[in-house]
């Protein structure tokens, strides 16, 4: 089985990726580059994490880096502010789904866990899920933060994930925690989603496992 792992410089996604590699899953990593709403340290951390996971597991990890900043600008300028995190995640899923087609992968892997942040309520996860047709695997869904950190410390990713890195500055002050799919779909009609996906794919670049 092959999965597209949406990996950030944070604590959760490297743990999720590690758990699935341990189950024998082949991983292709995708990092959504949120600059200029984050900084270059997040990209550096992500690449360090991928190298660490490769060395830890002996599993080669091809890595895509996709520009996501322009998508944020489009959503911020055209759509309901409170739903921003949902637009962001749905766009990440769409891009991951397209990369899954390119890579012949079976699904998407994420580090989401229930209720951890505003965008990860059950209702919001359901809304995000509806953006794609491929399965979305969430090995951390029932774990709490303490449990995830325990694993991260054990596998040596925690120290990397907690290095300085600017949090996303375009996150709304009051993100929606119980979005309705009909509202999200209505807002998304204001923009050309397919064009955004295509532009993101045009701007992405790839690191082969050897080049990491």
């Amino acid at each position: 089985m092959k999965l597209i792992s949406l990996i950030s410089g944070g604590i959760d996604s490297p743990v999720a990726t590690y758990l699935m590699i341990r189950r024998g899953v082949e991983i292709v990593a995708v990092h959504m580059d949120n600059r200029p709403f984050t900084d270059e340290k997040n990209l550096e951390k992500t690449m360090t994490l991928v190298r660490h996971l490769r060395d830890l597991t002996g599993s080669p990890i091809k890595t895509y880096v996709v520009p996501h900043g322009p998508n944020h600008i489009t959503f911020a300028r055209n759509c309901n502010r409170h739903l921003h995190c949902l637009f962001c995640r749905r766009m990440m899923y769409r891009i991951a789904e397209r990369i899954a087609e390119i890579e012949g992968a079976d699904g998407i892997l994420t580090g989401e866990s229930m209720g951890q942040v505003a965008s990860q309520t059950l209702q919001n996860i359901m809304v995000v899920n509806r953006a794609v047709k491929v399965p979305v695997i969430r090995p951390l869904i029932g774990l709490d933060k303490v449990e995830i950190i325990e694993i991260a410390r054990r596998i040596g990713t925690y120290e990397i994930s907690t290095l300085p890195g600017l949090c996303c500055t375009i996150v709304p002050r009051k993100p929606s925690t119980s979005a309705r799919l009909v509202d999200v779909l209505g807002e998304e009609q204001k923009i050309n989603l397919e064009s955004l996906v295509e532009k993101s794919l045009e701007g992405m670049y790839v690191f082969s496992p050897e080049a990491l």
Binding site: F37, D39, K41, G69, R77, P164, G165, T169
Partner: protein, 108 residues
Amino acid sequence: MYSLLKPCKTSAAFEAIPRERFSLDLDLCEEILKNVCTVVAHAGILLIVSDRCEVSIHRDGRLILKTDSIELAGEQTGRIAGWLEGTPAIRKHRDWRNSGRTNPAAGK
């Protein structure tokens, strides 16, 4: 114009908090700032410019300064504040304050 400079959660940047509440016209800020520094992005709700370091300017006047140096953050905050001093939103705010009223929102 700014009273508090504090490190952000992950210590990757500093946040400058305005002493008074503003509602900045970011289109106008962009017009002003593009003459003195590089405008990186205008997302409607925030403006990102690059000068000595990269700065996110929020509509409420908050600045996120992408540097781990407090000296540089302070210097950059001063430069941005100086450039924005002349914007109508801030002038209007100052007028209300100078008129003796304590609540700028009372002018609405």
